[in-house]
């Protein structure tokens, strides 16, 4: 099962390397989003807590622009039925999740580097806490966006519906991450942020379990 999931991931990875569709559009989107923020700020000094929030705004919208492709691409190429024949639903979900995870991590690392380079106010005082928050939130983001992408691929209108469906699901994750990021910028200790970290871990676990349980119903029709 694992080798099949990995093979599926490799297939996606290779086809991505050939077309570079998702990566290119993601990179451009990140650039556009950050420059829009920079232009709108202009010469103003913005408060530190705001930069933490805007950081997650950029991440959310970039994710919405790039991650919807996972299952839609199969549907467009007409390879859904073949996939249904050769692998079990959970294997397919694992493969797609792996690919989206890589994409999310790549995207968010680029955003974080660019963001800290371009915004003087974005100073992280508790670095390790931020890294932990970052990793945990990325997992949550990848899991939720993969399952919503699966729903979207089976629904009629593809592009516009994705952020609409994802936002309420991602809202708890984003709110907690924003809170944790502002904690990191103030420089709170690990112990004080333990509960918020636990919330994100719970979110990841709950969404992962639910996704695996519910993916069968989306995939088989």
């Amino acid at each position: 099962m694992h080798s099949k999931a990995f093979a599926l991931f490799l297939k996606d990875f290779r086809s991505e390397l050939r077309t570079r569709y998702a990566v290119n559009s993601l990179a451009m989107f990140i650039l556009v989003a950050i420059s829009v923020i920079l232009f709108s700020i202009g010469q103003e000094k913005i408060p530190q807590s705001l930069t933490g929030g805007l950081f997650w705004v950029v991440i959310f919208f970039s994710a919405m622009s790039g991650l919807a492709r996972a299952f839609v691409s199969e549907e467009e190429r007409g390879t859904t039925l073949t996939l249904q024949l050769i692998a079990s639903p959970s294997t397919i979900f694992t493969g797609k999740l792996l690919f989206n995870l890589i994409l999310v991590f790549l995207m968010n690392i680029v955003i974080a580097v660019l963001y800290s380079a371009l915004f003087d106010e974005f100073v992280i005082r508790s670095f390790y806490l931020f890294v932990l928050t970052f990793v945990l939130s990325n997992f949550g983001l990848a899991i939720s966006s993969t399952i919503i992408a699966a729903i979207i691929s089976k629904a009629g209108s593809k592009g516009t519906l994705y952020p609409v469906l994802s936002f309420p699901i991602l809202l708890p994750l984003i709110l907690t991450s924003v809170q944790l990021t502002s904690n990191c910028m103030v420089g709170t200790s690990f112990a004080e942020s333990k509960v918020d970290l636990a919330v994100i871990v719970c979110y990841d676990v709950i969404m992962l379990t639910a996704s695996y349980m519910l993916f069968d119903f989306i995939w088989k029709d």
Partner: protein, 240 residues
Amino acid sequence: MIWKTFLFLLLCFVSIAGISFPIVENPVHWYQYPMIKGLEENAKIIFFHVPTAWLTVVAFFMSTVYSIQYLRKKNLDDDAKSYTAAQLGIIFCILATVTGAIWAKFAWGSYWSWDPRQTSIFALLLIYGAWFALRSSIESEEKRASLSSVYSIIAFLTVPFFIFIMPRIMLGLHPGAESIEDGKVVQSASPVVDFKMNGNMLLIFFLSLIAFTILYFWMWRVGYKSLIYRDKILKQSSRG
């Protein structure tokens, strides 16, 4: 018929009693409400605001339960039940948001202040909106039923987070929320929280809750039955 008459009378009584009974400093007669500090005349909206908020949650929960039922049995009747519950749920959700905003304007000074519960009901509104957007985008009945069931289950899983994390992130104004006093976070002791409803107020409050709940279930039954009959008729006409 008896039920409908009973419900009609109950709702009439609740509306009249809720709106017209006077609020006085020291209630003597059975029809007088006590003056609650910090709420004054605004207190009366509680008879209509709380039931709508309660039914929003009930409808959301029922919609999810019938979604699970649909995924288990693949019976389209369950989807009709879930759909009707959500339809009523979004109506009550809008009502709760609007009555809450009006109350907030007079009690807290602004229509919207991102109190934890305001944020939660906003998220619920978003979930309902997304759910209906998803449903309207799918043509096939079975596909629509199973996809929207999956989405409503996933959306339901986020609810505990809202209940749990919201109060941590923002300070509350609703009764029972934490607030800052003298620089320390305490269980709020503001007048809004401390209010004591006397016997008759509690009675009207619970009567209103019961009346609205019966109204909801009645509307829900009518709604899902008409959906099921419509599907039957459509199937028959397409066959013959």
